[in-house]
Symmetry: C2
Subunit: 278 residues, 2 copies
Amino acid sequence: MAGERYVHGYRPQENQRLHDQAGVLVDLLHHDTAYRAGSTVLEVGCGVGAQTVTLAKRSPDARFTSIDLSTESIAEARRRIHGAGLTNVDFLQADVFAVPFDAASFDHVFVCFVLEHLPRPADALTNLKALLKPGGTITVIEGDHGSAYFHPDSAAARAAIHCLVELQRAAGGNALIGRQVYPLLVNSGFKNVRVTPRVVYVDSSRPDLVDGFTRKTFTAMVEGIREPAIAAGLLDPHQFDEGIRDLHRTTDADGVFSYTFFKGVGTKGTLKENTDGR
Amino acid sequence: MAGERYVHGYRPQENQRLHDQAGVLVDLLHHDTAYRAGSTVLEVGCGVGAQTVTLAKRSPDARFTSIDLSTESIAEARRRIHGAGLTNVDFLQADVFAVPFDAASFDHVFVCFVLEHLPRPADALTNLKALLKPGGTITVIEGDHGSAYFHPDSAAARAAIHCLVELQRAAGGNALIGRQVYPLLVNSGFKNVRVTPRVVYVDSSRPDLVDGFTRKTFTAMVEGIREPAIAAGLLDPHQFDEGIRDLHRTTDADGVFSYTFFKGVGTKGTLKENTDGR
């Protein structure tokens, strides 16, 4: 994560957004992740601990090491973990490209909403593979802003979302990375790769998601880049605000919003599997 | 369906395409549809019977009435049903806007890949509601071409898909209707409406879907409108063929393709529920 500019996060209202998002999406994203007692898990890019609390609660007898580039985020994550009464997480400020761990140190690696921000996600995965013991697993979760569509459809709303994609690209990231989780894991040498889409489908029969996801997570995230998008000349203020208005329009009684996350799991082969090739 | 031009279907290779599609997608779309013994089900727009065989097999003691505008399609559907040894389906050539049935004749209505072709889908649903007994259910399944995205991403491929959307719109239909299943059912007065997305996620770990869905269903469907798209001036031949080439590119080992169908179920309220309002 060295040298990159992080498109969102760090501000208090952003922390609240990331927290709301985690609350609504916990089951969808994490219901099938649990680690055995005694296993060691490296969480990469823990941020303010939105996923860390869920992970540590769901696997109370596994031992987590959660790293992030930001000491401020780690301080907040530590507060949250202590607030939740959890004691199975160690935090460490570290860069995924320069981690202070020996090779083959961990049973599992967990990476959520991180690769989207990295200029070299494949290199990051290769580095992380080196930290895994043979037979260990990696779990990767990423969104894909190109998976967002809605009713009523709106060119203005699509243009506002596209600003986020462009700003993230300019910062060295990739907001469309969800669809690439499979090839990234395979090309980094992981075996038995299995990717599954996790759709957040929202209509007015699901009011928690209308508020928690469409309004407070996705639309809030797009609203959050209003100033840099306008400053970069991607849209003028009127156009941008029209897009935001149309995203809010999808939260009306007849509105629909859909977004997809991708979760991939792969295994670091044993020495025999790796020399046998695929 | 009167007065509309059907964008795909009717030719032998098209029948094969629709058949392949049904084979691959049966579980995803139909695993949660089964009708009780003795219940009467109206299938609207059965076409060549791709869904009819599945429905009739999964509910062997329900009685189906399957209608379509095309006598040729019905003849083929009847051959398939007989070939499958099924005897619980009656076929009838009829228009959804002028059906020869009394009000409140059916326990259930089933509509799959039909509303996308209708200029007035809400009116069709209102008509179908009249045919249901109070407390009866409607099941609607529709695709949404705006839900298609893939890796590698390609503006040419998106432009070729957009031709299909435009031709369907010109024919009075709506290739983006999947996301509207919820508001269409609610606005037609159905109660307890529940819509669920059904994602066809394809990477090279799922070779049956690479071949059966990405190549032989979706890309074949887009290829099928090459001549009308070019004749309508939507793309020139070179552009269109580049789009098709890029769609095929998504079937390579590192390619990914995603498409979403929407399935909605609603209930016709009892007299009391309807007068109570919502």
